[in-house]
Symmetry: C2
Subunit: 418 residues, 2 copies
């Protein structure tokens, strides 16, 4: 059987499963989810053993450290996966929820009811925890899912996928509701992306190159973000200890992820006190600085930032820094160089906080908090299926409700149009 036919069959089984899934009760789905969490923990040493094969191969191939960080399944990662799935089980089931209902003057009762999207394809790389997170969110929201991870995580993904399918089977749920593509052939992705009659939505997760390739090839709607060029703006009167904490956390807590800080904007009035100190702290953590001319007045030995640096998502211990005259200049910088992902302001000024929240139209905007909170799990969505920086359908971290749509339901008693 060739790859095209193999993928068509995967998608066909998913479509079949999705029809059944939309009628499964919340209780049955929740019992399966709780069992999945339990099995992940019980079989964690088996999962780490399979993951070890992937990690060893990656280390020997000289993969970048950020990639290996994302690939590695630690005991704590598996616990986080299980916790995430339990949190999904605890969330209310969006399917069948009537989000609003109103009465028309002619007596018609008009409401909107949530229904699943159908079949969702996830194309991702590196992080095997995506396999469990995505499967849980899709199952809870009544969608069938096709998971296509990277070849570098194939052992981990297959192990997780089989564990989840075993649980589905045990609970008499269609096994094809969660399918991990087991071939590592590159054409498999292309073939999946052509199956618009079977798959309703594609969510790519990974580096910009992967995402651009998916968008270019797909005939199915894609929800994505290309990159996260996240900014922190330190206002004139910011609490400078708080600002330093937020910058250090944003840049160094996990530099390889999309909500890490990439560009720091500092109000000129805060620059003299803030810049020398934050430079010292960042360098202590091994961060390389790329600075505008005004910044270099206060950090004379820092590298000069080129125009290109303002667009960069370093995903590494590198930070671009610019001094701005006021908040307008900061917002202009964000509008010009930003990626609509996540921006934060550190300020004590009430009006500036409100104005920044209101006027910056990136998908996540924070006051006095780290950009690292731009994450479905952190924001309380239970887990996260992806982050969107395109405004249609979903914008920002996507959880359970973003995997559904609403139909109109109308109760009448004989009404006709006049």
């Amino acid at each position: 059987m060739d790859i095209r036919e193999e993928m068509r069959q995967v998608a066909d089984r998913a479509r079949e499963a999705s029809r059944k899934l939309s009628r499964i009760s919340t209780e049955v789905k929740n019992r399966a989810l709780m069992d999945m969490a339990e099995q992940l923990l019980q079989q964690s040493s088996h999962l780490m053993q399979e993951n070890k094969k992937d990690v060893t191969f990656a280390v020997n191939s000289g993969l970048a450290s950020a990639m290996i960080d994302r690939l590695t399944l630690k005991e704590s990662t598996i616990q986080d996966m299980a916790t995430g799935i339990r949190e999904v089980a605890a969330l209310s089931d969006p399917v069948g929820k009537v989000t609003s209902m109103w009465r028309r003057p002619n007596g018609l009762m008009v409401g909107r009811m949530r229904i699943p999207l159908g079949v969702i394809g996830i194309i991702y790389e590196s992080r095997p925890n995506v396999t469990a997170d995505a499967a849980a969110l899709c199952l809870k929201s009544g969608n069938a899912v096709i998971l296509r991870g990277g070849s570098e995580a194939i052992y981990s993904n297959i192990a997780i996928g089989r564990l989840l399918q075993d649980v589905l089977k045990k609970h008499s749920l269609p096994e094809a509701a969660i399918q991990v593509v087991e071939t590592t052939e590159r054409e498999a992705v292309y073939e999946l992306l052509q199956l618009e009659e079977y798959i309703d939505l594609i969510i790519p997760r990974g580096g910009e190159d992967l995402i651009r390739a998916v968008v270019r090839q797909s005939r199915i709607p894609v929800i994505k973000h290309y990159k996260g060029v996240c900014h922190v703006f330190v206002d004139a009167d910011a609490d400078l200890d708080m600002a330093a904490n937020i910058c250090i956390n944003g840049k160094t807590q996990r530099p390889g992820v999309c909500n890490a800080l990439e560009t720091l904007l500092v109000h000129r009035d805060a620059a003299p006190r803030f810049l020398p100190e934050i430079a010292r702290q960042l360098r202590e953590k091994g961060v390389e600085l790329r600075c505008c001319e005004k910044t270099r007045v206060f950090i004379p030995d820092a590298d000069k930032a080129e125009e290109d640096d303002w667009y960069r998502e370093y995903l590494d211990l590198i930070l671009a820094i610019r001094v701005v005259d006021d908040m307008d200049e900061a917002m202009d910088h964000i509008a010009r160089y930003g990626s609509l992902h996540t921006e934060a302001i550190v300020t004590k000024d009430y009006a500036n906080a409100q104005r920044f929240l209101s006027e910056v139209n990136s998908s996540t905007v924070l006051v006095n908090a780290s950009t690292r909170f731009s994450d479905g799990f952190q924001l309380g969505l239970g887990a996260e299926i992806g982050i969107s920086t395109t405004k249609l359908h979903a914008y920002g971290p996507m959880g359970l409700e973003e995997l559904t749509t609403t139909k109109f339901i109308i109760y009448g008693n004989g009404q006709v149009r006049v």
Copy 2:
């Protein structure tokens, strides 16, 4: 200046206007909308005069009657336009609305705030009332709009567009917030559809050929429905007078529109009493019938339906009729031949009503009411910008809120990730 550059300039002006629009207060937008409604009424004879040029040309060109119906601006159409705009003004402004806000265990306050999509392109044909409806909804939701109607309505659309721009100017709003493309050159549409850097969403409204051409050419996301093959299922115990009213209304009140009834499904137990009578009433209204074999037992002189008829959107006084054994067969027929647009059941049975509403996943599902209610204005959305039968972003009639997205806003007091 060539068409490509002309369209780029139109789109560039729209993008500029959209930035300003997102900061305009609700009051200013509402005053402009109320004035637009007023001006439409005051200048109705001028508009009908311009429309007359289009209609005369259409009649002389031998355009189909359904097309001419949609093209014609009557006094009542203009009144409906004005009423629609006033209803939009009366609706609450979605922009800036915080749809929900919750507190995380670490004290972060996380909310979702509605923001405009940006620039919306509407590609439509025939109905000049779309020009005013779409402009009002886009203005209220803070979006700039580019309106590209058909050449058959060019005089009407230009007249309406100028009237609306005059009002914008009078209220110191950016005129480019509402732009009617004044050239009838075909390439203008293609060029607009390439401008993904300027335009956020394309909504085509018109026949299936127009919509397919737009989808094929567009690099911008498109929300659309190809056709409306709407069904009424008359259940075994339906009130047959109510069923007849609903069928007559669905088929004959305005046959040229997408929510008109196209296929009637009748439970076999209702067939003997219902079919002869509904056939008589439909024929009285000039409706041609295309029937399955079981239907022809009761309407012997009716034409035979071919397989192809079940897929057809006639947009004319033609109705396909099929007898089914039970509701499951009716729902299977709808799943197989339907277009995910609008389906209705006529029944007295509580369980069947609930099951039909729950299991039929078309974008609008009704109990005991005419399919003709599948319309944003009728459902209380104020007006309608289009109907979507694709599940992403919006499904069914789209009003004001469907022209916005939400961003995450987060209030912190120094939180960092641990």
